[in-house]
Symmetry: C2
Subunit: 313 residues, 2 copies
């Protein structure tokens, strides 16, 4: 099969052996595979794939057709459309995934949207609801709201009845984020007067943390799931105590099978019905053919995009 | 009544009007009132009392006899022994407390122990269980374990089936903390090799945070409830994400009535039965008469004590 491959700090297309589905796994003919920030880190030699994932083929999310079943795999039939979160190896013509981690693709989704859904919506749902317990009526602040996870988070929070404030660096994208359900969309340094916030989703990193703590409501929760702007931060613990607040950090990639499967069940139960009903969508900024994977990575790295960059494989 | 009173940065005994119980409140003839770190802050003019609490009489916890009932107060009768968490005003001969925040004193407890229980056991229980969800079999690290909250936390964690590691600065107190149920008791800089820990109770402050994060197990939770050694700390968010960890801050004093009442119900349900059975105790380092309140504060500030400093009023 053809596969995106990290070679000397670049991502190129090479020929790789077809993967073979093992017990409980399905083989997927990948149709679309979203790019994520972790792919850029892997390209630079950081953030190695977890055990069991191909070490040199990036790709944390796929959508495609089931083309073969491993032993005891019973959840899907050959021909079913599935999407899934992977530990790696998704940016290729074929990928294997455990059937407990795969979820069906609703008819409403085309391939690019389906290929850009699993990582972003699972990450956003996990951070907002599983980690932070966001509920109806609460005020949520979403940083970096025009990106893949950000656009998912704005829609999920609005759909759950929360009041959404979003920060977006690129002013040209403010209206698009407002259309997703954000009540206020402001520049990254302008959110403080709009607080306090019950939940803050931090997709940018350390530099925001002092202002986040200052804008945290009593009982507020901060979820840190992106640190592109820096990992180190100075915080005032008295401020955290005074707010009776909490700071949560998380990643999906390193989680064991059972936790990824649980996250998939939650997305199936709580997100897919709204996707199927057309109430949630996956904004796709650009698509690229697998052969143009280098250009796809450059586009992703350039930022200032609305939604996902997706490879069509 | 006689009451400890903050005057010009000192705590002295003055005459104050007797407080009058309002609707739902009981008037308590205070027999014992524990000292807490917050009292030292209040003596220095920081950490003012919340609305509704006497502004110049310190004291966050009491035990005593009910001597009068406000309108509609039905939970206790005159003569009942009660203990309670207060927003302030406890270090006096009389104090009023809402009946929903008061809890009965088990027969097993004498006055000094009862007067030192509410703040410490409520704080420790709230941090370990309500905030951090500590469960049987987990590994918990308790900093500052020889103090009031620390001795409560070691016992509560051990009673719940967790495995306890404690740090104690004063080596002379290590055996006493071990006797409370800690499997390991070490100096404050020696805990890292004993990790990782599922729950870390931070009673000392900012300087421990980097090492705490380094010793945090996957899914680990840190509760910060004391910052005597400093509030500011630099943390690495990537480490928090990698551990999929969380940092919780909390205080009890500023909470509204309903939250204090809920905390009191939890202590009643989960802590009192073990106190009544003799499985939990309140170590009391020193007692002082109310007239010696200045000496009590000096003793508390000197540290290196095992358990509580309690005023007998």
């Amino acid at each position: 099969m053809k596969a995106a491959t990290v070679v000397d700090g670049q991502v190129v297309v090479t020929d790789k052996p077809d993967p073979i589905p093992q017990r409980g796994e399905v083989l997927v003919r990948v149709r679309a595979a979203g790019l994520n920030a972790a792919d850029l880190l892997q390209r630079r030699g950081f953030y190695p794939a977890p055990p069991g994932a191909p070490p040199d083929i990036p790709g944390l999310e796929i959508a495609g057709d089931v083309v073969a079943l491993g032993e005891d795999a019973t959840r899907f039939a050959v021909g079913d459309r599935v999407m899934a979160l992977l530990g790696g190896g998704g940016q290729a013509e074929l990928a294997v995934v455990h059937e407990r981690v795969a979820i069906p693709v609703p008819e409403a989704l085309d391939w690019p949207a389906a290929g850009g859904l699993p990582e972003t919506f699972t990450t956003a749902h996990d951070a907002l609801f599983t980690q932070c317990g966001l509920t109806m009526g609460e005020r949520v602040l979403i940083h970096g709201a025009a990106g893949g996870v950000g656009t998912a988070a704005v829609q999920l929070a609005a759909a759950a009845g929360a009041r959404v404030t979003a920060t977006v660096r690129n002013a040209a994208l403010h209206d698009a984020v407002r259309d997703l359900g954000a009540g206020d969309v402001v520049a990254p340094d302008a959110f403080a007067p709009l607080g306090p916030f019950d939940v803050i989703l931090e997709l940018v990193g350390g530099p925001n943390m002092a202002a986040n703590l200052g804008a945290l409501a009593t009982g507020g929760r901060i979820s840190v799931i992106g640190i592109g702007a820096g990992a180190s931060t100075e915080i005032n613990l008295l401020q955290l105590m005074g707010a009776r607040g909490s700071i949560h950090g998380s990643t999906l990639r390193a989680r064991p099978l059972e936790e990824k499967a649980m996250a998939a069940r939650r997305v199936e139960a709580h997100v897919l019905p709204l996707v199927a009903a057309g109430r949630l969508r996956v904004p796709v900024a650009n698509t690229f053919a697998l052969d143009d994977v280098g250009a796809a990575y450059e586009r992703f790295a350039a930022g200032a995009k609305f939604g996902k960059v997706v490879l069509l494989t």
